[in-house]
Assembly symmetry: D2
Homo-oligomer: 133 residues x 4
């Protein structure tokens, strides 16, 4: 199964428009980090909700690819996110994913989001990916 | 309460980095449209999930502001989205929001998402905003 | 496809422990009604949350069976519910379901819940069923 | 703050129609257990979805009461549940709750559900309670 460097290369090639740092993968988990840039900020000196949803989605995707390999064409079927606190405008956003269920058709995982350097979660998401037959 | 032109001006000022067309607001509803650009595309000639979540969030925000006025500082507390079909890479994404509950502390609404020109929904979201005291 | 009387019979046979009245089915929709009994009440003279979740789940199941037939072994994979107002302790709970997506593997629907005789929704749910291969 | 015996007494008094065993509370967490009886079973020798939602809701409520005390009148505002595997028809259902956010207005927690004696989760829920002013 792919590790950090293989996944990093995959994200760089497939999603060149977003900067993603894969920090760790394996054991049905993944930790990623995304830098925040000006376009992601919102009034009140904070980070947009959709940016956080994107980090959640990417962390889940990384954990899934590390589990099933790079070949599969998995697609998100649902995402549920709860926002807890305003993220810092000047810190990377970290997504910590743990897969909850790895089925043959559906994979479900949860992602806790943090502003780098602060261990209080800013948001929590649960998402489902469907696997091709 | 603010109408289409006042809300359009508000979004242009507050969220200059995203292009949003407010098509209609009122009666606890809003319809918005966002053009898709290269950075929002994904492999498979489709639109990213976070882009769709962003349209859902914005449609909900527009419906809420049209209901309670531009002064309030409402924040998203949760969003649940289900993805149905791949959106077109060449069509704007439309978000059609209807508020389900307008309370003193929480407002809940649903948003159906479409690729412009196609009346089969591509996704459906339910989101909650918390109002300040 | 099965209509009201066939579905009523099915629910009576398969789920004898819960009283369900199928009011209407068809066109990717269903409307059901469940009487509230003492065991479903909660302090504050209201109806329990799990009872409402049960009505949502049943309305969705009825709409799906009316769409795909009684043979399939569909199972709930997720349910998201938002509660709006306290239901009446003395009125039946009504679940009005509309299917949002009918796919080959997954069916997604939304359910609006009411206390019979009051047209303000008490809750709203979105649920997903997985179909067998 | 109330401990296991005080909470057990509270549930016995307030919700006499459901049997709940409070196994542990504290540190923003709670573990509860509910026996399954005939009315909770479903075809296929399994436990109903609404029963599992009820366990999730109760585990969350127990964790919240242990955190804020028995006096508050907290109400569920939303619950999102994903079902992973069919629960055993002959084992109690266990709900393991961890609070994710304890705010002044909203408390969010996650609950992992198990069939007693099996450490593979059968479902996972995230719920929100609103606190009175």
């Amino acid at each position: 199964m792919p590790g950090v460097s293989e996944l990093s290369e995959f994200f760089r090639t497939e999603f060149p428009q977003q900067q993603v740092v894969i920090e760790s993968v394996g054991n049905r988990a993944a930790r990623i980090r995304r830098p925040v840039d000006a376009a992601d900020l919102r009034p009140g000196n904070t980070v947009s909700g959709p940016f956080m949803m994107g980090v959640a989605d990417t962390a889940l995707y990384a954990a899934i690819l590390a589990e099933i390999g790079l070949v599969a064409l998995a697609v998100t079927t649902s995402l549920n996110i709860n926002f807890f606190r305003r993220p810092s405008a000047t810190a990377d956003v970290i997504g910590d994913c743990k897969l909850l269920k790895v089925g043959k058709k559906l994979i479900v995982g949860e992602v806790t989001l943090y502003s780098a350097g602060d261990n209080k979660p800013i948001a929590h998401a649960v998402g489902t990916y469907a696997l091709p037959d």
